[in-house]
Amino acid sequence: MLHGLPGVDRVGAEQRAAMLGTRSIKTTAKAEAIDLAIRMVDLTTLEGADTPGKVRALCAKARRPEADCPPVAAVCVYPAMVPAAAEALRGSGVHLASVATAFPSGQAPLEVKLADTRAAVAAGADEIDMVISRGAFLAGRYDLVHDEIVAVKEACGDAHLKVILETGELGDYDNVRRASWLAMDAGADFIKTSTGKVPSAATPPVTLIMLEAVRDWFAQTGRRIGVKPAGGIRTSKDAIKYLVMVNETAGPEWLTPDLFRFGASTLLNDLLMQRAKLRTGHYSGPDYVTLD
């Protein structure tokens, strides 16, 4: 099935993504887009140096980024940090996402990946960001990748499953499309571009192709799958370009935190600064947003 998908012409896809990046989003449209983008942020910290204290600070930011500001969609942490985050987010409505399945490489036995997933869910994560086995995918062992996703989905129970394709390691856009279909077929609730741990993370063309995939999947199955670009999206301007792409590719139905997320850490502060600028008419400067 995967090799029967229409190919992707690299030049054309990049041209389309670039064209959508020229849309000019101003005034009221910009204000709405910024608030929507804030509500779509998966505020992320995935460092070896993370501590419960650091995670609690991030959760406080997630619940109320600033006065009169909607909360972000979720906080995204390593499994070991889930208990602290669960505690800090209790009752806030902010989702708790945990990476799992031997993030970021995915190079571990399946039992370890499943145990990783179950532990995160048991500790309070209601969203799991898994990685696919890129090695198996590139070797053409699609069935193995598929079965792993199915198994992880089962281990998730009620938790939502985001499948990280790590597009920077897939080689070309045809593979991005194939991996997207593979993940959706195996039961993904979201498809996500990247771990943020390899040099090439989310790019507009990759996200475009994934948005086309969820659009086509919906046309075939009636099921809407979410998309999450992650890594490298740092400015409001970039975030708005992604929203334009969602709007004009998958369609406005996808413009909700239930179906589109930004995996980001520094993006939120830029969104807050732009938000303040639109409200007050001037830049207050980086000292007026919190570094968490």
Binding site: G7, V11, I25, K30
Partner: protein, 471 residues
């Protein structure tokens, strides 16, 4: 729903005079018999400015000025001519926002296209031919210029067509009298100012405005050595007739009815973009527009559904809004022509347009496709020169080639397939001057452009483009 707030480009950057004279011998001058006409913004029908009508006496003065300038200009070393062309290219870049807004105002095209396509290509063309000016000996067409060149250009890409004409003519040492289209004279008049700013010697470039009569006077002027024309096949025929036997050299770039062929192994999403870009770019006012879509039958439904979904997203409206995809039809005359052919199409095939609200003022036509069209239908044979696409199907590559070539035109064609061998085999059989593979309406100054059959003769662009201006 994500509504984009209006994002209009400011028009204050363009300083329009209430009236313009003719640019002859480095000066703006009133026409001898004082004739004027108005040029309007096709998006609003607002009068932009009054422009002079060049009569026979004016054309005579312009040709004489070009003749006087020819001796000095052609005697300059190529590197010295290049210096002026580089200067013009840089000034165009510096003034590109102003020129883009002006082009959008006078033509009706979206500012996004004027800004991202027209103006960068204008500058690129001057840069490109500036590079050739001192290397003519290596081009293989001799180094002797022809003399005074009479050039008549259309309204679809006013400044870009001017660049296509003037850049190679000047690089090769010719001098120019150019007549812009009646409905879009302003950017050529602003270009005259660019020439002055670049300190181009007087008379090397002369701009005479007016309608068909002015063009005819220029083309038939006995002291013009070469005629270059871009426009309709009908006028091209008249020109060919009028210069027959005079010894004048002619190049003609005329109409087209390009086939855009989508095979079942095409990258469908990009093909749909290419179809949209092929026919709706510049409101379909493109001689090489992909106005006949040929889709392989086994992917017809998939392609059509995607195309309709994509067309529903096209943003039709204020050309100066940076988010507009489709602007205004250039003139009421053209709008009538598009409407008339669409009415014919309606009797032949099934008409479809996405729901879109057209502005009340100005000249507007919704993007339209006709399905169920056959080769025999007029909508599949005649050039509409508007945002109207005829959709046909085919079963085999041989049938695709046969249908694509079954037209009196032969300017361009497109092939969509992920299979390299198929692209090469089909491209080889298509009788069209330009064949695009997995893209459409892509232009580059280094690539020659021109037609087969009734799409004209001669090539513009690239090394080949020098031939038309050298003896």
């Amino acid at each position: 729903m994500f509504e984009y707030a209006p994002a209009p480009e400011s028009r204050s950057i363009v300083d329009l005079a209430p009236s313009y004279g003719l640019f002859i011998d480095g000066e703006f001058a009133a026409p001898a018999d004082g004739g004027v006409f108005k040029t309007v913004n096709p998006a609003t029908e607002e009068v932009l400015s009054e422009v002079s009508v060049a009569g026979p006496a004016d054309v005579d003065r312009a040709v004489a000025a070009a003749r006087r300038a020819f001796a000095g200009w052609s005697a300059l070393p190529g590197a010295a001519r290049a210096k002026y062309l580089y200067r013009i290219a840089r000034i165009v870049q510096e003034r590109s926002r102003e020129l883009a807004v002006l082009e959008s105002l006078d033509n009706g095209k979206p500012i996004r296209e004027a800004r991202d396509v027209d103006l960068p290509l204008v500058a690129a063309h001057f840069f490109y031919y500036a590079g050739w000016a001192d290397k003519l000996a290596y081009a293989g067409y001799g180094t002797t210029p022809l003399g005074v060149v009479g050039q008549v250009i259309p309204w679809n890409f006013p400044l870009l067509m001017l660049a296509w004409k003037i850049a190679p003519a000047l690089a090769t040492g010719n001098t120019v009298v150019l007549k812009p289209a009646e409905t879009t004279p302003l950017s050529a008049l602003f270009f005259a100012d660019v020439c002055r700013q670049a300190e181009l010697p007087p008379g090397v470039v002369n701009i005479v405005t007016g309608a068909g009569d002015t063009g005819r006077t220029l083309v038939e002027h006995p002291d013009v050595n070469k005629v270059a024309f871009t426009g309709s096949t009908e006028v091209g025929r008249q020109i060919a007739r009028s210069v027959a036997g005079t010894g004048k050299r002619v190049t003609l770039e005329l109409g087209g009815k390009a086939a855009n062929i989508v095979f079942d192994d095409a990258p469908i999403d990009q093909a749909v973009e290419g179809i949209v870009n092929g026919i709706f770019f510049n409101q379909g006012h493109v001689c090489c527009a992909g106005s006949r879509l040929l889709v392989q039958e086994n992917v017809y439904d998939e392609v059509l559904d995607s195309l309709k979904r994509r067309m529903a997203q096209l943003r039709v409206g204020d050309p100066l809004d940076k988010n507009t995809d489709i602007g205004a039809i250039n003139s009421s005359v053209q709008l009538e022509r598009v409407r008339a052919l669409a009415a014919v199409g309606e009797q032949e095939g099934e008409r479809w347009s996405p729901p879109c609200e057209l502005p009340g003022q100005g000249f507007w036509f919704a993007p339209t496709i006709f399905t169920g069209v056959s080769q025999t239908h007029r909508i599949a044979r005649e050039e509409v020169f508007g945002p109207v696409l005829a959709v046909l199907t085919f079963r085999t590559p041989a049938e695709a080639v046969e249908k694509a070539n079954n037209t009196p035109y032969g300017l361009s064609a497109g092939i969509w397939s992920e299979k390299g061998s198929r692209i090469l085999a089909v491209a080889d059989k298509l009788r069209a001057g330009v064949v695009w593979a997995n893209t459409f309406n892509r232009f580059d100054p280094a690539s020659p452009f021109g037609g087969y059959k009734e799409s004209g003769y001669g090539r513009e662009g690239g090394r080949h483009g020098l031939e038309a201006y050298l003896a």
